[in-house]
Assembly symmetry: none
Homo-oligomer: 557 residues x 2
Amino acid sequence: MSRSTGFVEIYDSTLRDGAQARGISYSVEDKILIARKLDELGVQYIEGGWPNRTNPGDMEFFVRARNESWKNAKIAAFGSTHRAGASAEQDSNLRFLLDAETEVVTIFGKSWDLHVRDVLKCDLDENLRIIESSVKYLLKHGRRVIYDAEHFFDGCSADPEYALKTIRVAEQAGAEMVVLCDTNGGRLVSEVQRMVEQAKGALSIPFGIHAHNDSGMAVANSIVAVEAGAKQVQGVMNGFGERCGNANLCTIIPTLELKLRRECIGRDRLETLTEVSRFVAELANINHDHRQPYVGESAFAHKGGAHIDAMMKNPHAYEHVDPASVGNARQYLLSQQAGSSAVVHKLERLLPGVDKRDSRVVSLLEKVKRMEFEGYSFEAADASFELLAMRGLKLYTDPFEVVSWRTINRFAANGVADATASGASALESEAIVKVRVRGEIRHTVANGHGPVDALSQALRKALETDFPELADVRLHDYKVRDLSSRAGTAAKVRVLIQSLDHQTGESWGTVGVSENILEASWEALVDSLCYKLMRDRPTRDDGSPLSAGAEPPAPQG
Amino acid sequence: MSRSTGFVEIYDSTLRDGAQARGISYSVEDKILIARKLDELGVQYIEGGWPNRTNPGDMEFFVRARNESWKNAKIAAFGSTHRAGASAEQDSNLRFLLDAETEVVTIFGKSWDLHVRDVLKCDLDENLRIIESSVKYLLKHGRRVIYDAEHFFDGCSADPEYALKTIRVAEQAGAEMVVLCDTNGGRLVSEVQRMVEQAKGALSIPFGIHAHNDSGMAVANSIVAVEAGAKQVQGVMNGFGERCGNANLCTIIPTLELKLRRECIGRDRLETLTEVSRFVAELANINHDHRQPYVGESAFAHKGGAHIDAMMKNPHAYEHVDPASVGNARQYLLSQQAGSSAVVHKLERLLPGVDKRDSRVVSLLEKVKRMEFEGYSFEAADASFELLAMRGLKLYTDPFEVVSWRTINRFAANGVADATASGASALESEAIVKVRVRGEIRHTVANGHGPVDALSQALRKALETDFPELADVRLHDYKVRDLSSRAGTAAKVRVLIQSLDHQTGESWGTVGVSENILEASWEALVDSLCYKLMRDRPTRDDGSPLSAGAEPPAPQG
């Protein structure tokens, strides 16, 4: 790799523009935790919020941020130019920006004549005066000012002369950087390339780019702007944001570092990107997008058999960068198309040094193939695969035995399903479970929201005394697939359960297949709990403990 | 809007490259249903699969596709050039391609020297001969050939002379189109712009683009290729695909139509794009990405207060295109005014000329909104929507009434679940159903492969004497979606049932939502049978028959 070809600043707006996303509302505590992670990641600016009367939480963040020690990032406050028909000195929004007490303030102003006329409802010259006096006011109070030219590209398309005038006014008033915004996210790469050149010609201070993803081009627009000379990229972790989201910094940062060879956070910290990306998704309470470039769980997951064969021959064959460079990992998904090379690879990770000619390994591979033919899919069920392997290689035995179960589900239109139904519900699901633990029978009954939940409740009740750690396990995703029209599987269903250990945050997937949805669910349910027990109390057949951790000794042939 | 500036072909690979996505495995029936939707949408090519020994389902699709009548699309079979060290005549993969009996065959060959040496393991000249003889072989057998230049951009970066030679060979051998592929998805817009020009200089036949999204640039790379002259875009609905996915046709198509003014599916059909996008996600059993450009639920959802204020003043303020142009709707998240224009659109199709001010229509719209909030989705459940509308407008009444149902499911490890269990099975599902038909109670019991099948059998048994036509209905797909991570729906599941009339070949979808999987299934099950009864014996409230067919008279206000 050649050396860096220049520096690009990362301006993170996860806590401000990113918080405009549907379904996201960060607490002040969330914001502090995220800001610390971003600081460790090495971004240059963290936009903390828009402090004003209607966002008290944002002001509280700035107060708390003052007492934190930031290693890499500057905290920036965000707000708008002052209102039309008033002066900067009278404007409460600008006062709030000063109250945030940040070294850097970012204000946005209007570049698009449509917005000046229809939204600000003032004339074009007044908007220029507003930009000038807002920037000057903040400078007078000792702030560094970044000027966000809202709707720059739409403005530049409608009335280029006026749009360019607005950013020249910001420069002349003393802004240190002008950021060109595709606020509506509708601009194409070719338009951004052209208009960035126009802006460059009009400015003598550095410029940045702020793009939205409404045309699916936020990342590309950011990158072409950098190629044209932009010194700052504004964006959001995971691309969260209003509508279709903001430019995704988790895609832009590695592209800058690895492909354009522009330094922004540095190669070492780049290796923590996947972790930070997933951390932000957790705090946002949004599922991490497994298809996300670079940092997604599937970003380096190979499924097609031909692809996997080629990857074994040369890892560059179907990977654009080394997954380790962003802290991600290669995966070979187990699927019908994948043949058995993926299974061997997975087994090798589970049991390093395993002997592939060992008869137990051979028969395990055959079993996996047979199960896949029957409709099992282990690509989202790593835990079931691990259990299958450990049971097959006699490295683990389930500490309980299922004797019987049944579920009864009643519905009555008159509102009383059964005397035992709770409340006025017309519907009741009940499960009865009998298991044998250490030679003793546990016989329990429970209700649930549906038969699977009832089975889960009754099974936990049967095991809770012997294995209190099972209380930590939550079933947090349940999927059913109909396999009836799939060759070789008559009228079968496949159930996938995703479980979460709410103490450790670890999650795992288990699978069950049957003609009967309840039997398939039961199978995935039992594996879910067995996996927790195996992780916590590994034992051999003879009852002696296994060496702890993910790497038990390899069986010898 | 100015007039079209030229035509661009859409080549859809949802069923082939899109099926490489993690978690996707379509049944043959799914593939037929999706292909029909794509044909209605107006794409020019539907790539049906890769017919070979390891994909029997793909060959079955091609057999079934022959008996369908396609209005707009040509079905294409996909495969590779023949193996190194063999001749085209001996190659089983090419034979399978002919067996698919499609007018168009797409084959991919190697452009990247690394792949020729390390994956094909042959010399560079032999690869050229392989490309030539594979294309010629298919032409000799009367096929039109599209040549996919796999890894073209990586090859063009490593050894441009050789990469260009490979595509010239394909042209000289008789391919009608060369498609430049960014197979690893790692290329930047600026690189694609440069290398497309190189390819253009080397070819005299039209070229296309096939991009993957590993750098988040698949859409932008496709669009810049079209701006540089590409006549075909290959992609996948919703961007599904291996790793980070393929170029998203749901973003590319509207960008071509609305922004580049290139005709591909036409403005009228563009208005069905949102519906088709959601339909494909439903059949893939993958949550529809709400942030997806143009077609996502949040794509035109405004949350920021300032944005909403501005939108009220001028709808162009924060929208890059009119949401109706792609069949989507504007939403204001703060005011909770979710747009119902999609429903109005659907209702208008069902009852042309319906009066939107009719109080029954107004209350129907409110009901649909409430149900969607609760987790219902009618995208793949037209029959449930039609029943809801017809019941709500008092144009249809169910000819039976559910009194009660129950299911009992028993499992025993010793192999005898219950004295009544048939044979040696350890598992038994039994359902008891009580319905009222024409004032009389029908009380039945039946076994089934699982509780849903048992309920279905018992319900049919209860209705078969009165409605013998129900014997024609098969439940041929059953899907369950967990809604627990969706805001506003705690621990709910959505069940989708696809039914087929095996006399007429007609199929329809129904939906149920509940915390209890059996209740949700029952709801979809009842709708499935009611739809058949409504189609065959339409009646008004007063018992008089409705006019037959899909267009009953519009209610008068």
